[in-house]
């Protein structure tokens, strides 16, 4: 953190595509940034401690919206089709997108292709559906290696794909964000949307992991 911060495009304003500078955050965001940078600079707040706390709460922003989107796509062929055709509209229909000026594209995993999302330039991230980006997503190594050696990155997350599965990397921009639609795991036949949503992890929706089958075949109550 300190005095440098990736811009997450997470501000409440309309993007102005005609300007080439970085879009200005809201007044509230600027006030938070001012305090944060001053307190860190003066050694009054330890940046590592702060990051640990933020990590604890990052999934509490727009909590679990993405998981609900995925679960719905798993249970409704109609919604799945709508999601893959125009994710911005489909997700808005669930009431999850409150913002303008950015579009969401959903990319579906299959046996043939596994999708992985990165923002090589900065840290664009669909936080309305995924919450705050994790620290590693914003890190320089992930941003470069996701493109240069995606399989090695996946392996570090414990994700080992079949040799026949192609890895497709999607580079986010300020205007277009990506959400991975993971494959529905085996053993979840007859599960409700709510039960399925509990299986869907943030990392699976970034594409660094797959959604694992439930540990038992019992339907969870």
């Amino acid at each position: 953190m300190s005095n440098s911060e990736d811009h997450d495009h997470d501000h409440d304003h309309d993007h102005d595509h005609d300007h080439d500078h970085t879009a200005l955050p809201s007044e509230l965001e600027l006030r938070v940034k001012a305090l944060e940078s001053l307190l860190i600079e003066k050694g009054l707040v330890n940046p590592e401690t702060l990051n640990e706390i933020i990590d604890t709460y990052e999934h509490r922003v727009g909590p679990r919206n993405g998981a609900q989107v995925v679960a719905k796509a798993w249970t409704s062929a109609e919604f799945r089709q709508a999601l893959l055709t125009d994710a911005t509209d489909a997700v808005a229909s669930l009431g999850f997108m409150g913002r303008q000026g950015e579009h969401l594209k959903v990319v579906a995993n299959s046996d043939d292709v596994h999708n992985l999302v990165v923002c090589t330039l900065c840290s664009c991230y669909p936080w309305t559906v995924l919450g705050l980006p994790p620290a590693w997503y914003k890190s320089a190594p992930y941003r470069s290696r996701a493109v240069s050696e995606p399989r090695a990155v996946l392996a570090e997350f414990g994700t080992h794909l079949a040799d026949t599965t192609r890895v497709q990397v999607w580079d986010s921009t300020a205007e277009l964000r990506y959400l991975v639609l993971p494959q529905r795991p085996a053993g979840t036949e007859g599960w409700s949307e709510a039960q399925l949503a509990e299986l869907v992890t943030r990392n699976a929706m970034i594409g660094v992991e797959v959604v694992n089958p439930p540990e038992t075949n019992e339907v969870r109550g």
């Binding site: 005095n3 440098s4 911060e5 990736d6 811009h7 997450d8 997470d10 409440d12 300007h19 080439d20 500078h21 970085t22 879009a23 200005l24 955050p25 809201s26 509230l28 965001e29 600027l30 006030r31 938070v32 940034k33 001012a34 305090l35 944060e36 940078s37 001053l38 307190l39 003066k42 009054l44 707040v45 330890n46 401690t49 702060l50 706390i53 933020i54 709460y57 990052e58 509490r60 922003v61 727009g62 909590p63 330039l121 900065c122 936080w127 705050l132 300020a174």
Partner: protein, 114 residues
């Protein structure tokens, strides 16, 4: 951790509308952890801001909660001499300028403001 009366939350804890809210929240936790103030002290600052907003007609507590949280944080930071108004104002303008001077796609850094 102390539960605050009006704080937006669900069964699993606090929820946030936007990342800056979570950052403001985390800053207070960090300052409390390092012993800068007690929860009771913090609760008093927060209550003052919330009550004064209510007195001025702030109807939707849930929607504006973290605006009050941020105002209380600025107030307690000044009271504890962690910073002062002119420093805060100057730093806000530096960030604004840094954003305006940073080409899209590059990390925004404070020294870009000059």
């Amino acid at each position: 951790m102390t539960n605050f009366l009006y704080q937006p939350k669900d069964a699993n804890g606090p929820v946030f509308k936007a990342p800056w809210e979570a950052t403001a929240f985390s800053l207070v936790i960090a300052l409390h952890k390092s012993g800068t103030f007690t929860w009771l002290e913090w609760a008093n600052y927060l209550t003052v801001k919330i009550e004064s907003a209510q007195a001025q007609g702030d109807a939707d507590i849930g929607d504006t909660y973290y605006e009050h949280w941020l105002s209380a944080l600025e107030a307690i930071a000044q009271e504890k001499k962690l910073t002062d108004v002119s420093e805060l104002v100057q730093r806000i303008e530096q960030w604004r300028s840094a954003y305006l001077n940073t080409p899209h796609g590059q990390a925004v850094e404070l020294n870009a403001s000059v």
